[in-house]
């Protein structure tokens, strides 16, 4: 080991407290990068492998009934590479000991195992026997949630008929990585599953011999680049068979959610490390400038001894390199653990056959390189200051520090009034502008991280509360498979414990404006409705216009529509003739891209009268009434689903708030490190620089507490300034993060409650005070008589 290396090692040990803070900041930045990016990679590669394994479709077509003879013409459409027809039907599941009807989706699969589009991966049991009669394969999440395994019986209500099937297999499919029940936002594995039947058996029980009502297909590589014209052609070709929806992969629910989550992760993987590494570079810069000042004479002496600039440059830059390397090494380890945790966390969200945490050497190398770049960038200023010193000048004592009046002193009156101690604190802050600046920036970024994290939690809570307290005010939402007449409403009102029932008329339709299209639904709501209230994000209810459509603002933007414009409505019900309908009003809704119309108006438009697709119920039930209520519902042949809103709410709270909350605490920990590390570092550096000054105060008879209080003033000014700046910055970060999660399913509102602000500011101040405690302890332990006799 050369003598300089030995010196370096000892310098490092001497400054270990301060360097450890920088190392921690680097480590957390690298951990954020490695953890988030590894998770993104894990998810992406699991997704790609899974999609390929299951031969996931590029498009989905839902229609009324397509004779298989018409399939060849569809197959011939230019751009369609491969097509599979299947049967699909909503089902109600009757589980022993469970009073409420559980719903699900029934899909047909080939009776014999062949690789098909949207294939299944069996995780237990086997495929169907020869004819597959009375056999079912159940989706894994549902089977797990309900404790089902191969061999168990399962009772399904199919077209009003109850059938007891035998579970032969448990499987998963890339089609349902994220399975959301219709009308839901989050998965509900216990109450919604997918059930696969062998095709011949399915045709038989559904009365669909030689026909299909679902198409899944793959596009040619060229068509995949621009699928819209092909899908357009498909819709036109299939129009006579009653197309409900043509959905490209990009808009498929499961894929949409997965993509949004990956997008959010990537944004965080880019943003968080950048914040951390920038702060670490800034803090390192201050530290190295300090080292430059401290080692002035040593540098001059070494130069006088004949050490050249290159040797000294590489000697001092090694401080940065070592900080970068140690930080990177710790960060890699921490990041890998973080990725393991996050990947496990996502395993609870998404269903994959093999989602595991892996090592990405390329990513790790890039992370180390990034850590080194930032560490060297942070050090280079200080090192240059060191090597620029002329030996003769370096060995002379440094010029006394700048002692002139600071800017604030121009306001003489105000300046005099702040008092002596505050004057000292302000002067010190203004004279060390770089250090003060770094302190303010670090405090601002730390606060911003806290604010955006608490904001994220608040936003999620708000979203759930908003939806269930302001929009979905029913106790139950009951949907029917086919439209019923007004009698259904009367019947619903008679169900046990029902206080009020309101009808909804839902029309699947395509909305067209010029070359913009959207396939969705129009919901007809009665004017006196109290349980379906289109509500703006600010909480104000938007009344249903008597004529025309009330449209979600995001949808209007997508379709390039404004209030007063007309839009073409291509309904899949009634006469199915294209209609031109005015957009009467817009609503800033959080969930979905909803379109509403007056109940009677929509009925008239479609050529129906008092058609009921769903009812919303308000109830006051005893447990006995509740059981009776469910029993009667289950008897309804046309029942599609029943949503218990209280359960929905609990499920959503669990998914969004509790699960996301655990991630938020990790973020808060990250915020704490950056905050605390930077503050402590700044405080310790300034303590060392002013050791002699502080010792002088002690000699003059100041008590330790009084000396600490001088310090506290500076710390407070610096960090309160940073905290104030961090508040809007955090809000802005929250807006950016939430924008990432915006998709067709929901929009994250950006909300920070007073409690959120309180916790952010409170924690920030707590960090400041804890750092101050450490400083005070150092002051108490300072050998001030030695500090006084020190040469430097």
């Amino acid at each position: 080991m050369t003598i300089l290396a030995r010196k370096l090692r000892r310098d490092f040990v001497a400054a270990r407290g301060m360097l450890a803070a920088v190392v921690a900041i680097v480590a957390f930045g690298i951990a954020a990068l490695v953890g988030l990016q590894t998770t993104t990679n894990n998810l992406t590669s699991a997704r790609d492998a899974y999609y390929a394994q299951c031969r996931l479709a590029d498009f989905w077509v839902d229609l009324k009934k397509l004779p298989l003879s018409a399939l060849a013409a569809v197959q011939a459409i230019d751009g369609v590479a491969e097509l599979r027809s299947r049967l699909s039907r909503p089902v109600i599941v009757d589980l022993p000991g469970v009073s409420e009807p559980v719903s699900g989706l029934l899909l047909s699969m080939p009776a014999t195992r062949t690789p098909v589009i949207n294939d299944l991966v069996l995780t237990a049991g086997s495929w169907f026997s020869a004819d597959g009669e009375n056999e079912v394969i159940v989706s894994r999440a549902f089977a797990d949630a309900r404790g089902l395994s191969p061999g168990d019986p399962l009772r399904l209500t199919l077209d009003g008929q109850q059938r007891t099937l035998r579970i032969v297999g448990i499987g998963i499919s890339a089609e349902f990585v994220y399975l959301i029940p219709p009308g839901g936002i989050v998965p509900d594995p216990a109450n919604y599953g997918v059930f696969y039947l062998a095709r011949p058996f399915a045709e038989d029980v559904l009365g669909m011999d030689g026909a299909a009502n679902s198409l899944v297909g793959r596009l040619t590589p060229a068509a995949r680049q621009a699928p819209e014209p092909v899908l357009q052609a498909l819709a036109e070709q299939l129009h006579p068979f009653g197309v409900f929806a043509v959905t490209p992969l990009k808009q498929q629910d499961s894929n949409l959610n997965l993509t949004a989550e990956l997008g959010g992760l990537s944004t965080m993987a880019a943003m968080m490390p950048l914040i951390f590494l920038s702060v670490s570079a800034l803090v390192l810069n201050v530290l190295m400038m300090r080292l430059a000042a401290q080692q002035r004479v040593v540098v001059g002496t070494l130069k006088a001894l004949g050490y050249d600039n290159r040797a000294l440059f590489s000697h001092f830059i090694q401080v940065g390199v070592i900080v970068g390397l140690i930080g990177a090494a710790l960060g890699l380890l921490l990041g890998y653990l973080l990725a393991a945790g996050l990947t496990a966390f996502y395993q609870g969200f998404f269903t994959f056959p093999n989602l595991s945490n892996r090592l990405y050497p390329g990513l790790m190398a890039a992370a180390v390189a990034l850590a080194l770049v930032f560490a060297v960038l942070g050090s280079v200023n200080g090192v240059r200051a060191i090597t620029r010193l002329d030996p003769a000048e370096a060995m002379r004592p440094p010029p006394p520090p700048e002692g002139g009046a600071i800017v604030l002193e121009r306001w003489t009156g105000a300046w005099r009034r702040v008092g002596f101690y505050w004057q000292m604190a302000l002067r010190s802050l203004f004279r060390n502008r770089v250090r003060s600046g770094v302190g303010v920036v670090a405090a601002a970024l730390g606060t911003a991280l806290l604010v955006s994290t608490f904001g994220m939690l608040d936003s999620l809570k708000y979203m759930v509360q908003f939806q269930f307290d302001k929009v979905l005010l029913a106790d139950y939402a009951v949907s029917f498979r086919d439209d019923l007449d007004a009698g259904a409403l009367t019947e619903a009102r008679r169900l046990p414990g029902v206080l009020r029932a309101e009808p909804l008329f839902v029309v699947s339709a395509t909305l067209v404006n010029a070359n913009h299209r959207h396939r969705g639904a129009v919901v007809g709501v009665t004017p006196d409705a109290t349980m379906t209230l289109p509500t703006n994000t600010d909480g104000s209810v938007v009344p249903i216009p008597p004529q025309g459509l009330l449209m979600a603002r995001r949808l209007a933007e997508q379709l390039d529509l404004a209030v007063g414009d007309s839009v073409w409505l291509l309904p899949t019900k009634g006469l199915q003739t294209p209609l031109q309908v005015p957009v009467a009003d817009l609503v800033d809704s959080l969930f979905g891209l909803g379109v509403y119309a007056d109940y009677d108006y929509l009925n008239r438009l479609i050529g129906e009268s008092a058609a009921v697709s769903a009812v919303r119920l308000r109830t006051a039930q005893t447990p006995a009434e509740r059981t009776a209520f469910y029993t009667e519902l289950k008897r309804l042949p046309t029942l599609l689903s029943v949503q218990d809103m209280a359960e929905e709410r609990a499920n959503m709270w669990q998914t969004f708030v509790v699960k996301m909350g655990s991630m938020a605490y990790v973020m808060i920990l990250f915020g704490a490190v950056i905050f605390f590390g930077a503050i402590l570092n700044g405080a310790l550096i300034s303590l060392i620089e002013r050791q002699r000054e502080l010792a002088t105060y002690r000699v003059l008879g100041y008590r330790n507490g009084e000396v600490g209080a001088m310090y506290l003033r500076e710390t407070l000014v610096l960090n309160l300034g940073g905290i104030l700046l961090g508040l809007p910055l955090g809000w802005w970060m929250l807006l950016g993060m939430n924008a990432q999660y915006k998709n067709d399913l929901y929009m994250m509102p950006s909300v920070i409650t007073p409690a959120g602000w309180f916790w952010s500011i409170g924690l920030a101040i707590a960090f400041v005070l804890i750092a101050q405690l450490i400083v005070q302890r150092r002051i108490n332990c300072m050998h001030w008589n030695e500090a006084l006799s020190m040469k430097e």
């Binding site: 030995r6 310098d11 001497a14 001059g300 002496t301 130069k303 004949g306 050249d308 600039n309 060995m395």
Partner: protein, 241 residues
């Protein structure tokens, strides 16, 4: 004068008409005005002058730490006044040892390691332990500067300067920070080392009695420099200041 300025093999360093002026804004402060001097090989020379006479400036110039504004400084066939930074560093590395008034030891290195800072970059260094033994500190080799007295620190500084086997050892007020007794010990050490190792030593000081130790004395004043030689040299124990 060209290269024959150092043609005499007995001359280690020769200055010809050296000027140094410090500029600070519009104010020019001349410090050295036309200095001519010769340092002879193997001798102990003392440059004597009052505060502000430019002693340290002159030492920095002949030590290759600073450059004259005008004039020539010859050493081993090279004019230091025209050397660039890289060559000046090279000169300090090969030819010069320094002893500073405040010792300038690296606080995080032990006595032995401080000596090694010099030996690691020299062409033909002494064994660092031997250098410490020469200054009588072989039992303190593992002590850090903070654990040594001022006199001991200065002896480490001297060992560091000598260990390179340099052409010249420059000592800038080597007793300036020491009490008289310790100072005398340090001076005695320098005299003995000069005699034992034949090292060329230049001591810069404001303390006139120190001049009695030297072979040659250079009196630096505002008006220039005058050289005298001692016919009889005192030993360190005899002098006081």
């Amino acid at each position: 004068m060209g290269n024959n300025a150092t043609a005499d093999p007995d001359i280690a360093i020769r200055c010809v008409d050296v000027h140094k002026t410090y500029c600070s804004g519009d104010v020019e402060t001349p410090v050295l005005r036309g200095i001519d001097l010769e340092i002879r090989r193997g001798e102990l020379s003392v440059i004597l002058g009052a505060s502000g006479a430019g002693k340290s400036t002159l030492l920095n110039i002949i030590g290759g730490i600073d450059r004259p504004t005008r004039g020539e400084v010859w050493c081993e066939g090279r004019n230091l006044a025209v050397l660039d930074d890289r060559h000046l560093t090279e000169y300090r590395r090969r030819s010069v040892g320094f002893v500073f008034q405040f010792y300038n030891l690296v606080p995080t290195l032990t006595a032995l390691e401080n000596v090694e800072t010099a030996t690691q970059i020299a062409d033909d260094p002494m064994d660092p332990a031997e250098a410490l033994r020469l200054v009588g500190l072989d039992d303190r080799r593992d002590h850090f500067p903070a654990q040594l007295s001022g006199g001991q620190q200065q002896r480490v500084s001297i060992a560091r300067a000598l260990a390179k086997n340099p052409l010249v050892v420059f000592c800038d007020e080597p007793t300036g920070a020491l009490d008289a007794n310790t100072g005398r010990h340090v001076l005695d050490l320098l005299t003995r080392l000069n005699e034992q190792t034949g090292a060329t030593i230049v001591i810069v000081t404001h303390a006139a009695p120190v001049a009695q130790l030297a072979h040659a004395v250079l009196h630096l004043t505002m008006n220039g420099i005058t050289a005298t030689r001692n016919t009889r040299r005192a030993c360190a124990a005899e002098i006081s200041w």
